[in-house]
Structure formats: structure tokens, C-alpha cells
Amino acid sequence: MRALTQQTSVAAVLLIAAGMLSACSSQEPPAAEPVAAAPVERPVQQAPPQEVPEAEDWDTNPPATGVLTLEDINRQGILKAIYFYYDSADIRPDQRATLQANAQFLRENAQVRVLVAGHCDERGTREYNMALGERRAAATMQYLVSLGVPRERIEIISYGEEQPAVPGSSESAWSQNRRAQFQAIGN
């Protein structure tokens, strides 16, 4: 796995991630994102990166190797999932902050490429959801590009309804399954 050189901004984002880890179950990629995030009506609670303590805090608690691998990025959930309205591939206003944080991380870590995976809830037919998942991934990609992430560093894929983050047929499960997930990938 490709290793990343340590940067101040990485440290900043990492600290956000570390602070949020208590609310998240740690899972191995490419498994589902933590399920605690983002019901439909409520904006994601996310601290803006600039409010995070500066680099000296990082220096007190460095990783043993001093580098951040792709595995680290994915395991620590640095790139957060975003969520969609039913049967829609439009970027929700309350999800923009998450995308801005993801974009900033990607801008500041030019070695990181990202796979954006679009997912759907179980309603509607399977083939329709396969297309909808791809539209969600494509819309997410375009938003990242508009925030300055080079297009060639983004791959997209759709899983349709085939890999729900949360099982079940409740509105709660559906709202967490309509999502785009981000996975750091190598060059």
C-alpha cells in the first residue's frame, strides 16, 4: 500500500477523525461506512477543518511510522460518506460541508486518488438502482471537481442496492443506504 508523506493539514484532518472515532465503528475497507451518520433531515455535525488545533498537537501524538497509508485513511474514516434524498442524485445542501472537507483533504494530499461508490436503498428495481447509484457517484465526483480536485484522481462505481450499509426496510435504514462512500486508492 502506498505511503503518504506527513503534512500539517493531514494532521489537522486526522485529529477531526480521531475525535469522531468514538461515534463510529471501525470497519475494514471496502465495508460500509459507519452507520451513525446523517439521517435525512439533520445536517451532518462536522467541525470545519480550520477550527481544529494546529500542528503542535499533532506532534505530541504521531503515528509510529510517521506516514499515513491509504489503509490508514480508509480505516480511520477520514473521507466521510454523504447521503441523498430518495430517488435523487442531487447533492443535498446539508452534505456540502462533508464534501468540502473531503475535497480539502484530497487537494492537500495530491498522492491520494479516490473511489466514489454510489449506493441506493432497496426501493425500485435493481437495474434502476444500479443506474441511480452511478448518477450519485457521478454527481459527487463533479462536486469534488468543482472544489478543485482533479478529475483524473477520481474513480466512480455504482453498487446499486446490492450492498446496503444497514439491513432492513425502515426509513431509517433507507436513509443511511442512499449514499456515496469514499475510498482512498493507489495510483
Partner: protein, 469 residues
């Protein structure tokens, strides 16, 4: 009705007249009885009226228990049960209620046909089974009850050396399937489908992989080991290959590609690996082309178009060119047309076009959010397209649309979501998936909505494709 007359009429109907009718009459053999329009069929509700009105009567058949030599009771029971189900599900036969069967003579004496005529059966199936060492010897005959003539006789096991004796349950089932298919062939001119298989996706062992089962749900085998996601199997018409969608990793990154399984085993080679998503493969009936949906030319916005290629991935041709999402292609039986789903008019609708993309026509079928079309592969009833559609809200059911009458018939009822219909090779049955609660299973149903049965029980199961032998 004399069997030779019945045979003549039904074969003629299947091969000539029915084409002009363009109707489901071709599906059922000719007969003088009214069994089809009576009894249980009448209880299935008005939605089947349209289909039933186009269907002629099935052949009534009596299937008494097999005559046996002591020691073969178990084999006789398996053979009888499997054959009874095969004949019933073939949509060609109507098995007469055994309550009214007269006694059969012991051994190989001729049946009392006068008594058998009173059962209303046109055909009488006699079976004989005995064990000889490790071998099992089986014989099936069909008599025309009116004339008393034997019209089919098949013996199995005579030439089988003891080491390969027919003793396993699956071998006995296969034998009953063979005879049922022979019986259907005799009465309709087209082999039955009891010996065919169905490919589908199941998560019963964890990741979604491709499985294959007998047409009746027995004999389940997992055939992929992708470890990630394997989806949307498409069985070749010859039954020797399966195209499917794989999420295989390339340099650590998954991509949505189409891979090809064959009976030789090994890692299935990828035949379509574009930068986009390559999905929903479908075979032409002659096995020479695969149609699929891909975003290879629409990477920016996820815009899918319809393409075709040879089964080895060569000779790629783009068929559609629109700013809308075009998916779910299905070949017409003659390979000259493709039906597909597009949202070019807003919402999802069913279209058909010539194989070169010309002569585009929207088919105004019943239901909304139309998806997963499957064109009937039988050239004699090629006016039928099965599909899934919403009947309102999130309830999706299976419908059949006739290009001749321009009408749809709803085949299923009460499921949360029925999806992914696929015709049997003879076009008389449909396999599909449906959800009830949090269970998703594969079911089969007759073309008229009768003879519904559940084929899978374990795990969740989806996207069946009915293939060849």
C-alpha cells in the same frame, strides 16, 4: 380425442397457424377438453382473463403410481413425484385427479382403457421400476386412452453398467425430467424444459455469488468464487456459458465488468472491461451476440447506452445514442430487434428498436417505472415481453405485454417487489425474483399466472436467468 389427431393438430398449430394468430394459443396443444377453463384456473381472477382467453386447452393426463418390483419403493416414489410436478409445470399437461383412477393390472398387462376413459384423461402414463443389483431399471410409456395405443415408450438403465447405476436421488430426478421433456416434445413439437437449469445470485454463503439450480430448485451449485460481488447472470441459450457482472479488482480498484463462465471451469475471463460500468448482459437466441448496457461513453454523468458484442468481447457496437439512460436490453427471438428501458421521455419506459438503432418505438405498457424486460424466446410467440413495473408506490409486480394486442397482463400479486423476469427456453414459463418482508426469493410461474411456486429457500436470492439444458 385420438392421440394421433391431437398430435397432428397441435403440431400444425404450433408450426403454422399460430404464427399468424400471434397468440398464446400456440403455447398450449390443441384438445377437445375444457380442463383449462375450469376448476382452479377460474379462481385466479380477472387479470388472467386476457391471457386465458388466448389459450387453448391442455392435454389431460393420468399418472398412477409406478408398477414396481419390491425393493424399488423409494425410487418409484421419487420418480412419480418428480414426473407429476414436471408434467404439471410444463403448461402442456393437466394431471387428472388421482382419486378417480381405476386400478391398474399387476405386471405388464394392458390397462382397462374403458375405465380410464371415464377419468377424462386423454393420455395415461405408465411407469415400471425395478432394482437389479445396484442398478435401477425404469420404463415409462404413454398410452392414448381413446385408442388404447402406446404412443411413447422409453427405457432407462438397461445399458448402464452397475458401477454407474442410477441410484442417486439426483439421477432419478434427471430421469423423470428427461421423460417429461420427451412427452412435451411428442405433443407440441418443442422439447420441454424440465431438464434445463436456472442461474441466479445468492448470498447464502456470504458474498453475492452466481449459483445454478435445476429448473425446479433442486441440485443447487455455486459456480463463482469472486469474493466481492457477482450479479446479473445471463445463461446462454445453449446452456453452456453464463455471462455475468463482476466487481473484480484491478490494481486494488473494483470495476464493473462483464465476465464469462463456461462449463470448463477456471477463473471466468472478463469480456467487457471498459472504464465505465458494463451491466445487464443478454444473449441473442443464436448465441452469437451479447447486448449490454455501459457508461463507457458517458463517464462524466453516468449516462448508459446500449451496446452489443460477440461473446468473446470483440466487435463492439454502440446501438443507442441519447442523453438519457438506456439500460436492460433484451433481444427479440430472431435477433433483429432489441427492447430496452430508457428515461428519455422522463420516467422509465419500455422501447424497442432495430438492431442498428433505427425504428425506435415506445411501447406503452401498463404500470410505471418499467424495468427488466425479457422478450419471449419462442419464435412462435415472439409478441410477448415480460417486465417488472410499479402498480403504484413501491409495489412492483411482473407483467406480460403483447406486441400484437398492445395490452399488458399482470402475472403476480401481493409481493413487495417482483423483479427480474426471465422466460423459460420454450416460452411457457417465467422465473423471477420477489420480496416478501425481508425475504427475497426466486419463483417460477406459468405464462398465464398459474402454477406459481417458490424455488429458493435459503439466504436471499435474486436475478434469475433461465438457460438451456
Amino acid at each position: 380425442m385420438a392421440s394421433d389427431r391431437s398430435k397432428t393438430i397441435s403440431r400444425r398449430a404450433l408450426m403454422t397457424g399460430s404464427v399468424a394468430l400471434g397468440a398464446l394459443a400456440a403455447l398450449a396443444p390443441a384438445s377437445s377438453t375444457s380442463a383449462w377453463a375450469s376448476g382452479a384456473q377460474q379462481q385466479q381472477g380477472e387479470i388472467y382473463l386476457e391471457l386465458r382467453n388466448r389459450v387453448r386447452s391442455a392435454i389431460t393426463v393420468a399418472l398412477p403410481p409406478l408398477s414396481l418390483v419390491p425393493g424399488a419403493e423409494g425410487e418409484a416414489t421419487v420418480l412419480h413425484e418428480v414426473l407429476r410436478n414436471d408434467l404439471h409445470h410444463s403448461m402442456v399437461f393437466e394431471v387428472v385427479d388421482p382419486e378417480f383412477y381405476p386400478a391398474l393390472p399387476a405386471g405388464d398387462q394392458p390397462p382397462d382403457f374403458v375405465a380410464w376413459r371415464r377419468t377424462g384423461a386423454e393420455a395415461l402414463v405408465r411407469g415400471f421400476v425395478r432394482r437389479e443389483g445396484n442398478n435401477v431399471l425404469v420404463e415409462f410409456r404413454i398410452y392414448d386412452v381413446q385408442s388404447g395405443q402406446q404412443v411413447i415408450g422409453k427405457r432407462y438403465g438397461d445399458e448402464v453398467p452397475p458401477a454407474e447405476a442410477i441410484v442417486s436421488n439426483s439421477a432419478l430426478r434427471a430421469l423423470a425430467h428427461l421423460f417429461s421433456d420427451d412427452a412435451v416434445l411428442y405433443y407440441t413439437g418443442i422439447p420441454g424444459v424440465a431438464s434445463t437449469h436456472i442461474a441466479y445470485v445468492s448470498n447464502r454463503r456470504g458474498p453475492k455469488e452466481i449459483y445454478v439450480m435445476d429448473y425446479d430448485g433442486h441440485g443447487v451449485t455455486r459456480i463463482t468464487n469472486d469474493g466481492g460481488l457477482a450479479l446479473s447472470p445471463a445463461f446462454s441459450p445453449a446452456g453452456d456459458r453464463i455471462a455475468y457482472v463482476t466487481y473484480r479488482f484491478h490494481d486494488g480498484v473494483p470495476n464493473v465488468d462483464i465476465a464469462m463462465l463456461n462449463k470448463l471451469g477456471g477463473v471466468p475471463p472478463v469480456i467487457a472491461r471498459s472504464a465505465g460500468q458494463d451491466t445487464s448482459p443478454d444473449w441473442s437466441r443464436d448465441g452469437s451476440r451479447i447486448a449490454f448496457s455501459s457508461t463507457m461513453d458517458g463517464l462524466r454523468d453516468g449516462n448508459a447506452e446500449i451496446y452489443t458484442m460477440r461473446p468473446d468481447g470483440s466487435d463492439l457496437q454502440r446501438i443507442t445514442s441519447s442523453s438519457a439512460v438506456d439500460t436492460s436490453p433484451t433481444f427479440s427471438p430472431n435477433g433483429r430487434e432489441i427492447a430496452f428501458i430508457s428515461d428519455r421521455a422522463g420516467g422509465q419506459h419500455l422501447y424497442k428498436m432495430a438492431i442498428d438503432g433505427t425504428n425506435l418505438e415506445r411501447l406503452r405498457v401498463e404500470g410505471s417505472q418499467v424495468d427488466s424486460p425479457s422478450w419471449n424466446p419462442n419464435p412462435q410467440i415472439s409478441d410477448l415481453i415480460a417486465y417488472a413495473a410499479s402498480e403504484g408506490g413501491n409495489s412492483f409486480q411482473i407483467f406480460v405485454y403483447s406486441l400484437t394486442t398492445r395490452k399488458s397482463v399482470k402475472l403476480t400479486q401481493g409481493y413487495g417487489r417482483a423483479d427480474s423476469p426471465s422466460w423459460s427456453p420454450d416460452g411457457r414459463q417465467i422465473v423471477f425474483e420477489a420480496s416478501q418482508g425481508d425475504q427475497n426469493h426466486v419463483y417460477a410461474i406459468g405464462f398465464d399466472g398459474s402454477r406459481l411456486r417458490q424455488l429458493t429457500r435459503e439466504g436471499n436470492n435474486q436475478t434469475p436467468s433461465w438457460g438451456g439444458r
